[in-house]
Subunit: 172 residues, 2 copies
DNA sequence: CAAAATACGTCAGTGATGTTGACATATATG
DNA sequence: CATATATGTCAACATCACTGACGTATTTTG
């Protein structure tokens, strides 16, 4: 269906084109995470903490279940990470208004500062790549990346926040 | 300099544009690795093994130092992974002709079969994303991804293999 | 040719991140 | 009230990474 719009069903993909795609993902991700990892290491945190901090910053008030759905790790893993972040004062929590079983998570001032510091690095890298590649390339980048993501999560990344929604939301 | 060519120095990047980029990378990488990870798990291997197998398949005859430069892990980590792969019969090794200190690595039949199986999955995902996005988007994707990679490795991914080169090559 | 550098390996210890499984508690819902 | 949900905890374990120290074979160099 989308193929018809643009006539792309004829796109000829050589093995090498696909290999290049695989490698681009490997190298880009490797370099994209390297510097934040180093910074985190200095304060005794790791990439898992970064991810939690990032998404709590992105969706203030997010609860544990929603975060689990994004990160796709076990609650035990997340619990450890989240516990450390709360203990160290990067994340605050309080029960939900409508569903008091939930822990609604937010960044503290300190957490927000760390989040900015970490993602500033990544933003800079992305901004440089975007600028060097140009607006058309950026649009193409987005289309392809979105296509790489599992269909059910494309909406999530495209903008609509994982809003808690009056109780019992995350039950997809 | 590249900005002048295309006049992109005016590209206006909102905070949200950059956030989207960060998230695209997170989600795409998460989903890109999920299925191979599951397959590997069944045969008692992990993502680290996949990476080694992939790059040995990509550069037959690659030596340990070159592989280390690509993966950016310690030799102790790589040694473990490589040792397992050799013991289990996925990778064969023999000393280099010109420098006999080197271990030149190659996939066995079995290793090549596993490599195909694993990356077939990733190829399919990439091919689908490419086809849905169209050739222009693919070109843009490549430009941006390349820009995200550390400059010194852009050549590597763009095609030129990490060829051993008559002795003393990898000393960048 | 002897000394130094290189390619690679190993042993030992540690830490971060993930997993499974079992069980507990508070709250919500039908 | 019975059941489902949101979350947590304890325990054990695997994978993948790291640091540091040291060893051997081979190549390069003064």
């Amino acid at each position: 269906m989308p193929e018809l719009r643009t006539g792309l069903h004829h796109l000829y993909l050589r093995d090498e084109d696909l290999r290049l795609g695989i490698e681009l993902l490997f190298y880009a991700y490797r370099d994209f995470t390297a510097e934040p990892d180093r910074m985190l290491d200095e304060i005794g945190l790791g990439r898992a903490h970064h991810r939690a901090i990032y998404f709590v910053g992105r969706y203030p008030g997010i609860n544990v279940g929603e975060l689990l759905a994004i990160l796709r790790i076990t609650k035990q893993s997340l619990s450890r990470v989240l516990g450390e972040l709360v203990r160290k004062g990067y994340i605050s929590q309080r029960p939900g208004n409508v569903d008091r079983r939930q822990r609604r998570l937010e960044l503290t001032e300190m957490g927000a500062a760390l989040e900015r510091k970490l993602s500033e690095n990544q933003r800079r890298r992305i901004a440089a790549a975007y600028r060097a590649a140009g607006p058309n390339a950026v649009e193409g980048f987005r289309r392809v990346m979105l296509g790489l993501i599992d269909e059910r999560d494309r909406g999530k990344v495209a903008g609509e926040p994982v809003r808690p929604m009056p109780a019992t939301a995350a039950r997809r």
